[in-house]
């Protein structure tokens, strides 16, 4: 039994690699964005903003590749589901890239002095590590068509959501100092960006399950009742 659409399947695999490698660029951007927050490094933050062009470029390449594959190869069955999922994945990549830019743009706004509150910064850094690990796990789950790994992202994402709420509470209690309060407000925005990145990895996990099973089921995440009362 030989493969009759060899070239097409080669193209499809290459397209998938191209899309998933976009997640590696996201990780690089995320690392630098977090570093710029931790060390209040405005210059590094500027590089994150400038480098977003790489992610946008990747988005356009993959999008174009998907369009021509649809137009010329009319993929069906699992192939069709992969193509549809990749369209979704590359959009998540682009959005996560934008969140890294949002984080980086907050760096100069939050002042040129060192971070003000160790608890908040610790929580942000923990969120950052979790977000990074989720992006990496989402990539692996999709590439390996591993639904268990995909579902495990939910568990991790719950922790990011918890930290997001914790940072909010801490910021409210941070004290009367105006600079301190302002910095804490910016950290709430940073936490919000990281929380959104977590959600995007869950989206990729959902697409993984869709590719494998052919069924799309939104994972119970931010929209579950226990999460409804969250502050942000």
């Amino acid at each position: 039994m030989h493969e009759t659409r060899h070239k097409f399947h080669e193209n499809l695999r290459a397209l998938e690699v191209q899309a998933l490698d976009g997640l590696d660029i996201v990780i690089q951007q995320l690392d630098r964005a977090l570093e710029s927050i931790s060390y209040q490094d405005v210059e590094l933050a500027g590089m994150v903003v400038a480098d977003d062009d790489r992610i946008d470029g990747r988005y356009l390449e993959v999008h174009q590749g998907i369009l021509s594959l649809l137009a010329r190869q009319a993929p069906v069955a699992t192939d069709l589901r992969i193509v549809a999922a990749l369209l979704h994945v590359i959009r998540c990549v682009e959005r996560m890239g934008d969140q890294c830019v949002n984080i980086a743009k907050l760096v100069p706004l939050s002042g040129y002095e060192a971070p003000k509150d160790k608890d908040i910064l610790d929580a942000i850094e923990r969120m950052g590590r979790l977000a990074r690990s989720q992006v990496s796990q989402a990539k692996q789950a999709f590439a390996d068509r591993n639904t268990e790994l995909a579902h495990d992202l939910l568990r991790q994402d719950a922790e990011i959501n918890r930290l997001n709420r914790e940072i909010f509470r801490r910021a409210v209690e941070v004290g009367d100092n105006l600079d301190m309060r302002e910095w804490a407000m910016f950290m709430i925005l940073v936490a919000r960006c990281l929380e959104r990145i977590g959600d995007n990895t869950v989206d990729i996990a959902e697409q993984t399950v869709f590719v494998v099973t052919g069924l799309f089921r939104e994972f119970a995440d931010a929209s579950t009742p226990s999460e409804a009362a969250r502050p942000l």
Partner: protein, 304 residues
């Protein structure tokens, strides 16, 4: 089902078949071109059969077909719902065409070929003991891969041929021919040259002429065996549009090698392999998330 070897169109017509022909003639000369006429044919073919005017489905139950010792169709059970397009796909030699040729009893025309099992057109047993093969083929029309207009006949006569055989009066003929040519979207293209030979038309036009000839006698089911594979892309799309319109009035079974064609025209799709039905499901399901691994491999081109 009768032992098919004893059933062939060349066999002398039974008494029931005689009656059928006579009744059809009577009905036709009365100028009655309503769907009831086709139904009357069917009722005559098997007294007591036939209900309602709505579409007529075809059911295959445990169909087995042979070419000599070769077992070509193995226990095939398929339900072709009324007023739907069902596509048969599968690699060459998977038995798609044989299935279709069993439905209107053309399979048995091949020397040494026979079929077992049951084929029901609503409650008419297509292989029933008193069924007239000619009457069956009037109810179940067929369109072939290569357009095959009667070569010596004009465009008009090609469509009128079947009607004349059923005894339609010549004063009704013109209306019926026009109606049939309009149904296949050919009328405007040929209305000024109806007396020219049918084979003078383009391939796509010839195929639509053949479909007009088929629908002229108001069948209940239309079988299409690769109806567009010899046509150019535009003619192909016209045939596909036509299939979509025809399903309002007929039950359509189409055999196609072109999977995208199946995806475009069929309500449901049957995947066959080595004489067996592997999967029969909504076309959407077959082409987005087939249940069987073999279907998946076939439609994605991982074998074929």
């Amino acid at each position: 089902m009768n032992p098919p070897e004893t059933t062939s169109s060349k066999a002398p017509p039974s008494g029931a078949a005689d009656k059928t022909t006579k009744e059809q003639t009577d009905m036709s000369t009365a100028g009655d071109r309503s769907p009831e006429r086709a139904q009357a044919t069917r009722v005559a073919a098997k007294p007591g059969a036939g209900t309602g005017k709505a579409g007529h489905g075809v059911k295959l139950k445990d169909l087995n077909a042979y070419y000599g010792n070769q077992h070509a169709i193995k226990n095939v059970t398929i339900d072709f719902p009324a007023n739907e397009v069902t596509a048969l796909i599968g690699p060459s030699g998977s038995g798609k065409s044989t299935v279709v040729r069993c439905i209107n009893r053309m399979h048995e025309e091949i020397p040494g070929a026979r079929a077992e099992g049951r084929i029901m057109l609503d409650d008419l047993d297509v292989y029933g003991p008193n069924v007239d093969v000619t009457a069956v083929r009037r109810l179940i029309g067929m369109v072939f891969q290569k357009p095959n207009p009667f070569p010596t006949m004009s465009i008009f006569d090609n469509v009128a041929a079947g009607l004349r055989l059923t005894g339609t009066k010549s004063k009704d003929l013109r209306n019926l021919v026009e109606h049939s040519l309009q149904a296949v979207g050919l009328w405007d293209e040929v209305k000024d040259r109806l007396n020219q030979p049918g084979i003078g038309l383009s391939g796509g036009q010839q195929q639509r002429l053949c479909i007009a000839r088929t629908v002229a006698i108001e069948p209940e089911v239309i079988l299409m065996d690769e109806p567009a594979s010899a046509l150019d892309p535009i003619s192909t799309l016209k045939i596909e549009e036509l299939i979509d319109e025809l399903k309002e009035r007929y039950t359509i079974v189409i055999v196609t090698h072109n999977m995208q064609q199946a995806a475009r025209v069929a309500n449901s799709t049957v995947f066959m392999l080595e004489g067996e039905v592997i999967e029969h499901d909504a076309t959407n399901k077959i082409f987005t998330n087939p249940s069987d691994e073999r279907t998946e491999r076939y439609v994605t081109g991982k074998f074929g």
